[in-house]
C-alpha cells in the first residue's frame, strides 16, 4: 500500500508524545480522524517537506508550538450561533437566576470570544449583567488574546445581527459596538463582565462553582474516555439546579453523571436536579 498522506498514523503518535513531554499538553485523548486532518493541514499550510523537520520545530520552537495549538484546535465560532439555542437560554434558563445574588457562568472552549459577548448581551437585556461574571476559558492563549480585545470583523455584523434577531434579540444590535475601521469594537460594559483565561479541559481542575456551564462543539473532538472525564469536571463545577449546555451534536447520555440531570425540552441543555452520591 502506497503512503497517501503526508504524515503517517505512527508519526502522529510520536508528535503527540513529544508535545506531552515537552509542553505538558495532552492531545492523546483527541479523536484521531479530525486531529490527524488538522495536523496534516498545518503541515501543508506551513509548507513542510519532511516530518523530521516538522517534528523538530514543534519540539524546539515554543512560539511555533503556540501556532501548532492554535491550528490543530478548531476555532470556528460566531455570535449567537444556533439562534434557537440562545432563544432557550434567554427565555428558559437565565430568568431562573433572577433572584440569585450573584451569577457565575463558565464558557469552556470560548475560542475568539464571540459566544462570551453574546452571553453578556443576553444577561444585559435580562437586567442580570451587573451581578454576573462570565469566565471564558480556552486551551489556546493566542485566541484568548484576540477574544480579550472584544473586536470582531465589521463584515460579520450583518450575519450576527440576523442571528441576534432570530434568537429573540430586542434592541438594535449595532448599539452594542462602535465601528472602528474594519472592526466592530464591543462596549466595555460587556467586556468588564468577562474574564478570559487559559484552562485546559484535559489537565486542569475545577476552579469555581457555577450556575451555568456552556461547552459547545468541544466534546466532539474528544474520545469517549476524555468526554467522561470532562463531563465529570463540569459536574464538579456546577451547583445544584445549575445548567450545562452542550453543542447540537453532543450529549451526556452515555456518561455516569447523566442520572443526576434532566434535559430541557428544547436544545442540548441539562439541569442538575440532584447532587447524587
Amino acid at each position: 500500500m502506497p503512503h497517501q498522506t503526508a504524515i503517517q498514523d505512527d508519526e502522529i503518535e510520536i508528535l503527540l508524545n513529544d508535545v506531552l513531554e515537552r509542553y505538558g499538553y495532552d492531545f492523546t485523548g483527541y479523536s484521531r480522524a479530525s486531529l490527524k486532518r488538522r495536523i496534516i493541514r498545518l503541515y501543508g499550510i506551513d509548507k513542510y517537506v519532511s516530518f523530521t523537520e516538522f517534528r523538530y520545530i514543534i519540539a524546539n520552537d515554543s512560539s511555533y508550538f503556540k501556532r501548532f495549538v492554535e491550528q490543530i484546535t478548531v476555532n470556528v465560532t460566531e455570535m449567537f450561533r444556533d439562534p434557537s439555542f440562545y432563544k432557550t437560554l434567554r427565555s428558559e434558563v437565565l430568568p431562573k437566576f433572577g433572584t440569585y445574588p450573584f451569577i457565575r457562568v463558565w464558557l469552556a472552549g470560548c475560542s475568539t470570544g464571540e459566544e462570551a459577548f453574546s452571553i453578556a448581551i443576553l444577561l444585559r437585556e435580562l437586567n442580570l449583567l451587573h451581578k454576573s461574571l462570565i469566565y471564558a476559558t480556552d486551551i489556546n492563549p493566542l485566541v484568548l488574546e484576540k477574544a480579550a480585545q472584544g473586536m470582531f470583523p465589521l463584515s460579520q455584523m450583518k450575519q450576527y445581527s440576523e442571528n441576534y434577531i432570530a434568537s429573540g434579540g430586542i434592541t438594535d444590535f449595532s448599539s452594542y459596538y462602535s465601528a472602528n475601521y474594519s472592526l466592530a469594537k464591543f462596549n466595555d460594559e460587556l467586556k468588564a463582565k468577562i474574564i478570559f483565561s487559559t484552562h485546559n479541559l484535559v489537565s486542569d481542575r475545577s476552579f469555581n462553582e457555577f450556575q451555568l456551564i456552556l461547552c459547545r462543539n468541544v466534546l466532539i473532538y474528544f474520545d469517549r474516555a476524555l468526554q467522561y472525564n470532562v463531563l465529570q469536571l463540569f459536574d464538579n463545577s456546577l451547583e445544584k439546579l445549575g445548567y450545562l449546555a452542550l453543542g447540537t451534536k453532543e450529549t451526556m447520555d452515555f456518561s455516569p453523571i447523566a442520572k443526576k440531570y434532566k434535559r430541557l425540552e428544547a436544545g442540548k441543555i441539562w439541569r442538575k436536579i440532584s447532587e447524587g452520591l
Binding site: P2, Q4, S34, V76, R224, K249
Partner: protein
Amino acid sequence: MKGCKALVIGGSAGSLEILLKIFPDLEENLSFPIIIVVHRKQGTDFLLSDLLSSKTKLNVLEAEEKQIIKARNIYIAPSDYHLLIEKDHSISLDHSEKVNYSRPSIDVTFQSAAEIYKDKLACLLLSGSNADGVQGLKMVNAYGGLTLAQDPTTASVPYMPEQAISQIGVDYVLLPEEMASYINSLV
C-alpha cells in the same frame, strides 16, 4: 468491485432527486453501509432523513458522533459538520472551517473514508455546482477504491460530475436509472 465495505455518496444542487430515485430500489440486505454527504441549508436535517427514510427499507440515520458504522444502515452527514471516520469505524464530527465553501464537505468524508476502507470503498459523486468531492475521489483512487460519477448529461447541475470525470477520469459513469442495481451488485 467485490466485498465493498462502504459506499459514500456525495452531491449538491440537483442530487436529492437522484437519491430519491435510487433509494426505493436498494436491496434490503445490503452487506455494506452507505454514507450520504449532501450540501444543504442549516437546520433541515430532520426533513432530509425523514424524506429519505420514507423511500427505503434500509435504516436511515442522522449521523451521530461515536456511532459505529454498520451494514444495512444509511448515515446522513448532519448540516454544518464535517463527517470523518475513525479506525474503529466510528463516526467523528468536526465543526472546523468550511472546505470548498461547504460543511459538510464531500472531500473531507471521501478522504477520511479512503484511509479507512482503502480498496474496499466505493464513492459516487452526483449533480452539483462546485468541485467539492473531486480531490476526495483522487485519494479514493490512490487507495485503489472505486470512483463513480453521475452521467453529467443527466444532472440538473453537471459541473460536479464533469469535474470528477475531466480531472481524474472516474472508473464508471452511471445513469440515474442504473445506479441502484449497480450499488446492489457491489456486495
